[in-house]
């Protein structure tokens, strides 16, 4: 009794040990594996979006199959049938062992070799024609142009509004501003696109009198509406997170309210504002419906903001529904998707890791 004073009779050391319970075990495993699936999901998205672009890089194989069949006077068949009836392993080995052969075949069939690096870097995007051209350059120019226009509108407005909300507005007003911004965030992008297409485009055309009714300018402003809530929310969060000791010190030194806001709050929040702008750019870059509806979708390379443009995302949205599964056009669209994904992923990663650590250090006073 002395050795185990707190244990009532009937309990032994054994019985007080944590029991193995099946339900406990199962529930924990189910819950944790579901959570891990989220990470798996990102990987899956990566894998499956990239996977569909792979045929571009194996183009030479198909070309080769075609030529051999032409030589042996078999009926011409394309794609999977051709590969399945001829022994694919052998062809694979041949191409690996003799790269010069395959290069030659490629050279012989320059017209059939429809996708190469030079084609992808070309300035023409004519995916559905006799001699399809998959030049991504005009799409890239269009996307960058519209992103620039859009962020030039969205960032100043959103950041200034956030500054007003965080530094100048009384709390009752702040409680009103936030729901309005949330309301703006709640507009489905198809609604903003529709509004831009039907109302804004006409309005701006009457105002400026340019030629193309739908253009990069209209699209850019419409996308700014989609990006403003993101930039505003992140910026406002960071600004309210600036330690109040900073502001109090500034005020105690005799600075006025606006001086404190402009020279203390704003600089302290710069890394966060930078992150907000990155997230805004990511949103604009990948925005599909507004781009589809309000930019005119003409493939042009020009610096004029009042010309129609076509973006990466809009190209996928407009053309994916009409392509043949598995052909080159389809793969190129997935390639564009991969580019979009990589770009937004990197933006997010930069915003997440670099900027946040800077911010934390700064708020803890480790970096001046």
């Amino acid at each position: 009794m002395n050795s185990e004073p707190f244990i009532k009779p009937g309990f032994t050391k054994e019985s007080l040990k944590k029991k193995f319970r099946l339900s406990e075990f199962i529930s924990e495993k189910v819950i944790s594996s579901t959570a891990f699936l989220t990470v798996g999901l990102i990987l899956l998205i990566f894998i499956f979006v990239f996977k569909e672009t792979l045929p571009i890089f194996h183009q030479h194989k198909e070309v080769k199959t075609r030529t051999e069949q032409n030589v042996t006077d078999k009926p011409i068949s394309y794609g999977e049938t051709a590969e399945s009836e001829s022994r694919p392993e052998v062809y694979g080995m041949e191409t690996e062992v003799q790269p010069t052969m395959e290069e030659r075949y490629g050279a012989d069939n320059r017209k059939e070799e429809i996708v190469g690096i030079s084609n992808l870097l070309g300035t023409e995007w004519q995916p559905v024609s006799e001699n399809p051209r998959f030049g991504l350059l005009p799409l890239l120019v269009g996307t960058v142009k519209i992103t620039l226009i859009s962020i030039l509108f969205a960032a100043p407005i959103a950041i200034m509004a956030a500054l007003f909300s965080a530094a100048f507005a009384p709390s009752w007003l702040r409680e009103l501003i936030k729901p309005v911004v949330e309301l703006l965030a709640g507009f489905p992008s198809v609604v903003i696109g529709f509004f831009a297409l039907m109302v804004m485009a006409t309005f701006f055309q009457d105002l400026f009198g340019y030629g193309a009714r739908l253009n990069a300018f209209v699209g850019g402003i419409a996308m700014a509406l989609a990006a403003i809530p993101i930039i505003f929310t992140v910026t406002e969060d960071v600004m309210t997170a600036v330690p109040s000791t900073y502001k109090e010190a500034s005020l105690a030194l005799g600075a006025s309210k606006w001086q404190t806001a402009f020279f203390v709050t704003l600089p302290a929040a710069t890394p966060g504002i930078f992150a907000a702008i990155l997230l805004g750019i990511g949103r604009i870059f990948g925005e599909t419906m507004i781009a589809l509806m309000a930019t005119g979708n003409a493939v042009l390379i020009s610096a004029n903001p009042f010309e129609s443009v076509r973006t990466f995302a809009a190209t996928i949205g407009a053309e994916m529904a009409e392509v043949v599964f598995g052909d080159t056009h389809y793969s190129v669209l997935f390639l564009i998707g991969s580019l979009l994904f990589i770009f937004t992923f990197s933006l997010n990663a930069i915003a997440e890791f670099y900027v946040k650590s800077r911010l934390i250090k700064r708020f803890q006073g480790k970096v001046s």
């Binding site: 891990f36 999901l41 499956f48 200034m160 530094a167 609604v191 529709f194 509004f195 297409l197 589809l292």
Partner: protein, 300 residues
């Protein structure tokens, strides 16, 4: 003089920042007003309950409403349990500083910033071609049934898109359940899972509901992910099975505004459809805001 200068600068700063707020508010009000004013005349009970007629130039939008609701329902069935379990893991099981927990958090944030069109591509590559195509060749001997766009794949694609919304809001709610309640439950001899089921989850019901509603509102409005995973231009019948295509409000707006033969003639229908979509998403958002507000007040 310097004092004057300072005053002007200050006024300028406050002025421009206030102007920015005014611009944002004005834009929201203008968009709402224009769509309400242009759409309200066409918005009748008949419009909501009738099928489109005459090549969609007349009639109603019932199939689009039905399709949207059905898609959102299937999406909810997939996204809410998945999201809730992840949120439970993050708040109840995970060690906050472990790599696993950090990578899950990063994955959730990444998922929230992936462009919606990428989800569409993923839905096409994974659900339709890989899963659907695989099911066809395994069970149907290559007959095309699941390996093409349909409402199931569209809903699942949308579920991925709305997953972060659910996770974030459920986790926030779970974290507001006081630690003392959990400890009391554990002290009474309840196991961890029993505590979660009987104490934590009932305490965060409002959060799960809010998350669900926000996800539904988001899913109802998104178009890009369903462009090529299941939405259809026009269907004479409602979807009967999971392998049918469906009509959706957002897609309807897009297609009517850009691809229809006589855009001007159908303008009232387009505005009315947009209005219905806005009413649907906004009323859902409003409900979520109210629930969240009452919940926070109760917890204070």
């Amino acid at each position: 003089m310097k004092r004057m200068n300072n005053k002007i600068k200050g006024g300028l700063l406050v002025g421009t920042s206030a102007l920015s707020v005014v611009i944002i508010v004005a834009v929201v009000v203008i968009i709402l007003l224009v769509i309400i004013l242009q759409g309200k005349d066409r918005l009748t009970w008949e419009f909501l309950t009738a099928f489109p007629e005459n090549g969609m130039t007349e009639g109603g939008i019932f199939p689009a409403i039905y399709g949207t609701l059905l898609m959102v329902l299937i999406m909810t069935l997939a996204a809410v349990p998945f999201g809730t379990l992840t949120a439970i893991y993050m708040s109840e099981y995970a060690n906050e500083s472990s790599i696993i927990s950090k990578s899950i958090r990063f994955a959730v944030r990444t998922l929230a910033t992936v462009p919606s069109i990428i989800f569409g591509l993923f839905g096409l590559g994974f659900f339709i071609k890989f899963v659907g195509g695989g099911m066809d060749s395994m069970f149907l001997g290559g007959q095309l049934k699941w390996g093409q766009p349909n409402i199931l794949w569209a809903s699942l694609t949308m579920a991925l898109l709305t997953l972060p919304v659910v996770i974030v809001s459920v986790e926030e709610a779970i974290r507001t359940v006081p630690r003392e309640l959990r400890e009391a439950s554990l002290a009474l001899g309840a196991t961890r899972w029993q505590t979660i089921r009987k104490v934590v989850l009932p305490g965060s019901k409002a959060g799960i509901l809010t998350g669900t509603i926000l996800a539904v509102s988001r899913g109802a409005g998104e178009v890009a992910p369903i462009l090529f995973t299941g939405a259809a231009y026009y269907l004479a019948t409602l979807p009967h099975s999971l392998s049918d295509q469906f009509m959706s409000l957002g897609y309807h707006v897009y297609i009517m505004a850009t691809q229809s033969a006589n855009v001007d003639e159908t303008l009232p229908i387009q505005f009315a459809t947009t209005l219905v979509l806005l009413l649907l998403t906004f009323s859902l958002n409003m409900v979520a805001v109210v629930i969240r507000y009452r919940f926070r007040k109760k917890n204070k």
